[in-house]
């Protein structure tokens, strides 16, 4: 695969794209604010003593609604794309997505348990209720991934193909249990479950944001350190071992990073498909398979794409809102097909 663009120009382009996405995400919404007010209010959110009482509404909308939402989109997009790169590298398959190791279905199972179980338990205290869903989703993702990893390991060796098959089996099993919960759920719970599965950045707040930001930062700093090992893995496991990489350790780290990142992203924003699968693929089509470029570029592209998708999600049906999973798939899938067809021609 020959790179279409040089890494440096790609980074500049993606940087500009992300800056534009951030700008749009802060400046556009169902409440139309003048650009100058947006700018002033944004500066005020960061502590600049600007304007008077007339900016209070703008400050509230930007500071309490758009800013946490933008940060959430940024983190979710970046961490999903990074995890996608890690999984595609680990499985040496460009069609791998973070869901393959069971983290998404585990998180969905955790969420279903929380949603249906929470409805059974009745009135949970307000202080716990909102966190129960996120915590269960995160825990579910980690537990199922750990199980997949265990099933794929024998005598200290992890077989990637066994892990893949175990992932498929556990995904099916989780699907069945979710189905059971769906059957037991009442009408209202069912709707909550359905919407959760479509994902949304709606209702982001700082208090629920910081765990994801920490995880994203950790994954975003850790994974690029393993870029060379991922490059070596492209040659094959034994080749990578002969090149002096601790293959088992790298595999463990990749799975752990993915479980952590995707688990946190899903817990914060629900299931958002497509980003983890297609963004790394797309970036690879542009700059080639070098993970030293691929990892940071995918993080930038994933964040930008998710932010653009979210701007659309909140604008198209305003004042109502579209689940973001629908938008990412609607934009991404045709674009992906176009790239595939162009590559074949």
């Amino acid at each position: 695969m020959n790179p279409v663009v040089l890494p440096r120009s790609l980074f500049i382009a993606l940087g500009l794209l992300l800056a534009l996405a951030l700008l749009f995400s802060l400046a556009l919404g169902p409440v139309s604010l003048p650009w100058l007010d947006t700018l002033k209010a944004t500066l005020r959110v960061f502590g600049a003593p600007l304007g008077g009482a007339e900016l209070d509404q703008a400050e509230l909308i930007i500071g309490q609604i758009r800013m946490p939402r933008t940060l959430l989109g940024l983190a979710v997009g970046a961490v999903l794309a990074l995890s996608g790169v890690a999984m595609q590298g680990l499985f040496r398959n460009p069609l791998a997505d973070p869901g393959l190791v069971g983290v998404s279905s585990g998180a969905a199972l955790g969420a279903a348990m929380a949603i249906v179980g929470g409805a059974w338990l009745g009135g949970l205290p307000d202080a716990i209720a909102p966190y129960l869903l996120s915590a269960c989703a995160f825990a579910g993702g980690l537990v199922v991934t750990a199980l997949v990893y265990r099933l794929g390991s024998r005598n200290g060796q992890t077989s990637v193909s066994t892990m893949l098959l175990a992932g498929i089996a556990l995904t099916a099993l989780a699907g069945a249990v979710i189905g059971l919960f769906t059957y037991l759920a009442d009408d209202a719970t069912l709707r909550t479950l359905t919407f959760w599965n479509l994902g949304s950045l709606n209702g982001a707040s700082y208090s629920r944001l910081w765990p994801l930001l920490v995880v994203t930062l950790a994954v975003g700093l850790w994974l690029p350190k393993r870029a060379k090992a991922l490059n070596a893995l492209l040659l094959g496991e034994s080749e990578a071992r002969h090149l002096g990489f601790e293959v088992e350790r790298v595999k463990r780290e990749l799975v752990f990073c993915t479980a952590l990142g995707v688990g946190a992203a899903v817990a914060a924003a629900g299931m958002i498909g497509f980003i983890g699968l297609v963004v790394p693929h797309l970036v690879r089509l542009l700059v080639g398979p070098d993970h030293r470029v691929l990892l940071p570029a995918s993080a930038l592209a994933g964040a930008a794409l998710l932010l653009f998708a979210d701007v659309l999600a909140r604008m198209v049906l305003a004042p109502a809102e579209l689940p973001i999973g629908i938008v990412t798939a609607l934009i991404g899938a045709p674009f992906f097909l176009y790239l595939l067809l162009r590559g074949r021609a």
Binding site: P30, V31, S200, G203, P319
Partner: protein, 299 residues
């Protein structure tokens, strides 16, 4: 003389302005989420105050002209704020909670009313809506009328049951697919059946899928479909043709398949329930004199 006139007019002006401030204190721009709550707002004369409704607010049909804020459980803060409301009124199903907190943070009062299907809840809700509209007497009258109608209905049912035993009734949510969802004992569907004088035939709770065999085994005398699309005779014939098992039930053989507006089943007791009960009752007891003029069995 002139002075007294002036003083009188001044007093009038003061009184008027006070009345005006009292009215100003009431929320003027309302966003309403939750079908039956919106219906009550309209029924109590608050339609002109509505600036936005959710997707479950379908009655009356004029509400469709208002901006839609989406599904009541998946509201978006900024969308609601863009309508510049003073009040977000809705059912307790409204959410998600962080969004409600954001809306509240922007200075909009948020009022979530319970949706239990009983008269105590209705009394509470009508009281709240009446207070927010500044028209408590109208709300009190609406409640009294409602209770009176339910009582008349109950009396009518006991008279009808003196002549004939209660028919066994099954309420199905959807007829598409192979296994429709049947209303269980604790649902508002079962409550409606009982109030209209029928005997709900299911034994499970909530809404559960019902297999064809179970349908045949239950063999209800009347089947209610919570689906407007099967109201006509052609649609009914098509439905029976697709579902031979359904056609084999007593209800189908005696042509006692009824259609019910599904929006009656969500969000607590709405203002259209007494009418619906009268219609259902008339269909359950075709020999009895219908309760109201509108209560003719549907074709």
């Amino acid at each position: 003389m002139r002075v007294t006139a002036r003083i009188a007019s001044l007093c009038c002006a003061v009184l008027l302005s006070q009345a005006a401030t009292a009215a100003d204190a009431l929320p003027q721009r309302w966003v309403s989420a939750g079908g039956s709550i919106t219906e009550w707002v309209v029924a109590l004369g608050g339609e002109s105050k509505l600036v936005g409704v959710d997707t479950t607010s379908l009655h009356p049909i004029e509400l469709k002209k208002l901006p839609s804020i989406g599904y009541q459980r998946q509201l978006a803060a900024e969308g609601i704020l863009s309508l510049k409301p003073d009040l977000l009124l809705g059912s307790e199903e409204m959410g998600p909670p962080p969004v409600l907190a954001q809306v509240k943070g922007a200075g909009v009062s948020v009022e979530a009313l319970p949706t239990k299907s009983d008269l105590a809840t209705l009394e509470h809700n009508l009281g709240r809506i009446g207070a927010l509209l500044g028209d408590e007497p109208r709300a009190a009258k609406a409640l009294a009328d409602y209770k009176a109608r339910l009582q008349t209905q109950a009396k009518w049912v006991s008279t009808a049951q003196a002549d004939k035993p209660a028919p066994t009734v099954l309420l199905l949510l959807s007829h598409s697919g192979s296994s429709p969802m049947a209303a269980g004992q604790d649902t508002i569907g079962a409550w409606l059946i009982a109030q209209a004088g029928g005997r709900s035939i299911t034994t499970h709770t909530s809404y559960k899928a019902l297999s064809t065999e179970a349908l045949l085994a239950l063999d209800p005398q009347v089947i209610i479909f919570a689906d407007r699309s099967i109201a006509g005779p052609e649609a009914k014939a098509a439905l029976l043709k697709q579902n031979p098992a359904l056609a084999a039930t007593r209800a189908a053989k005696n042509d006692r398949l009824l259609a019910l507006d599904p929006t009656l089943l969500v969000g607590g007791l709405g203002p259209r329930i007494p009418d619906a009960l009268a219609v259902l009752g008339a269909a359950f007891y075709p020999a009895a004199t219908p309760l109201t003029a509108v209560a003719k069995p549907q074709p």
